[in-house]
């Protein structure tokens, strides 16, 4: 976890601001993307998140953190891609109540570790479980914009074909970006789709991911995001495959109460 880069201390206080919902996109039956435009947005680094705060008429507030899905190149806006969780408090509100034109209070960007930018180099290995794809998608989009020559492999584990977020975009990128390789696997559905595997992430899948990198080049950095058990499994596999401890960065979704 010791980084090779020096991260400057954030100089200023992160202020809450009212961001306008500019667009809402249905990604899958349980995932929507909310494009937000804050009045003063300093930009962000791929992989970062924001805090969102909702206020009830009596002053009660709920806060949650959500990763940014869009690339930093989309100036002035950020996309939050949110999975609706059963019995949640904030994610069902986003899915069932929020409309274009609403304002949502947020502050950010936040996080200085689970980030990637061109200066960090590559190759990069990205491993996503479910909605853990969100910050990795920001990294992939940013990489395509600023460093398409950096080799990248995405391992994406989803439940079913219809649960794959940005499915078309991922396959399009895999087809058009020579240095990007996609390894998708479905855990709850036998894959009847070309180019998609079946089963949970395991040592064979990790081996396939490493084999998809340019010959002789291991990943300089590995980013793993998903539920706690997924991240534990993937990180253990990554270390088992010989990747250096300090090269593996993780982000675990708490899983409860979102």
């Amino acid at each position: 976890m010791t980084d090779s880069v020096t991260v400057p201390i954030q100089p200023q206080r992160l202020l809450w601001q009212e961001a306008v919902v500019e667009a809402i996109t249905v990604e899958t039956p349980s995932v929507k993307t909310f494009r937000l435009r804050p009045p003063q947005w300093p930009g962000f680094r791929a992989g970062q998140h924001v805090d969102v705060r909702l206020t009830a008429p009596d002053g009660y507030q709920a806060e949650r953190s959500y990763s940014i899905a869009s690339a930093p190149e989309e100036a002035g806006t950020l996309d939050l891609t949110i999975e609706e969780l059963e019995n949640g408090e904030v994610s069902p509100f986003f899915h069932e109540v929020v409309e274009v034109g609403d304002t949502i209070e947020l502050r950010g960007p936040i996080g200085g570790h689970f980030i990637w930018e061109k200066s960090l180099g590559g190759p990069i290995l990205l491993i996503a479980g479910g909605s853990g794809l969100v910050p990795l998608m920001s990294i992939l989009r940013h990489r395509a914009a600023v460093a398409p020559d950096v080799p990248a492999v995405l391992v994406y584990s989803a439940r079913r074909y219809d649960d794959m977020i940005w499915r078309e975009e991922l396959f399009r990128r895999a087809g058009t970006e020579p240095q990007f390789k996609l390894i998708a696997t479905l855990t709850r559905e036998a894959a009847a789709h070309e180019g998609i595997r079946h089963g949970r992430i395991d040592a064979a899948l990790m081996e396939a991911a490493l084999a998809a990198l340019p010959a002789g080049e291991g990943p300089k950095l590995t980013y793993i995001c998903g539920s706690t058990p997924f991240v534990e499994t993937a990180a253990t596999l990554a270390l088992g495959a010989g990747l250096p401890f300090a090269s593996v960065r993780t982000e675990r979704y708490g899983g409860m109460g979102r």
């Binding site: 992160l14 705060r53 009830a56 709920a62 253990t236 708490g254 109460g257």
Partner: protein
Amino acid sequence: MATRGFIGKRPADEIGNRLPPGQYLTEDFPVLSAGPTPHVPLEKWSFTIKDGVRPVATWNWDEFAKLPHVKLTRDIHCVTKWSKFNTAWSGVMIDDILAEAGIAAPSAFTLAHGSDGYTTNVPTADLIDGKAMVATAYEGKPITADHGGPARLLVPHLYFWKSAKWVTGLQFTQRDEAGFWELRGYHMYGDPWREQRFTGD
């Protein structure tokens, strides 16, 4: 200003009054850390007190196990918004560790170190006088590796990133040196009741 259409699921008062601002109660015990889980064999574990760069005292696992252990049951609050009530730990109070080392805290600031290279800064005053411990058990069992076992710092009155997992030592420092997350925009002190999540809060 109220968020249009938001009602929320406010907890009952007896829960809400125990929740710092922006936190929600979880019955789960989520895992948060910046990298893979290190697995530290007990025979390779040690805990060291340093005054600056100078080691003052070191214990191996067997020696540490002989120090006086006490139980501490506290609510804990993670900066990622979850709180968990009545978490039951046992371990060695920092007061007792210093007493065993035969020293009084030599400076006002402390940097906790983890075996994964993690660091976090805590004012010495927040570690002593019965406020903090090096915990070796959770709910009566050894702490699992994903929750920071075999030993983690427990500073329950501050956001939980201050309770360094896989703790291997405390280093007393002359000034308040930022640790891993504090260098990355998180608050130098981290009081959940004042919602000190980020720099400048």
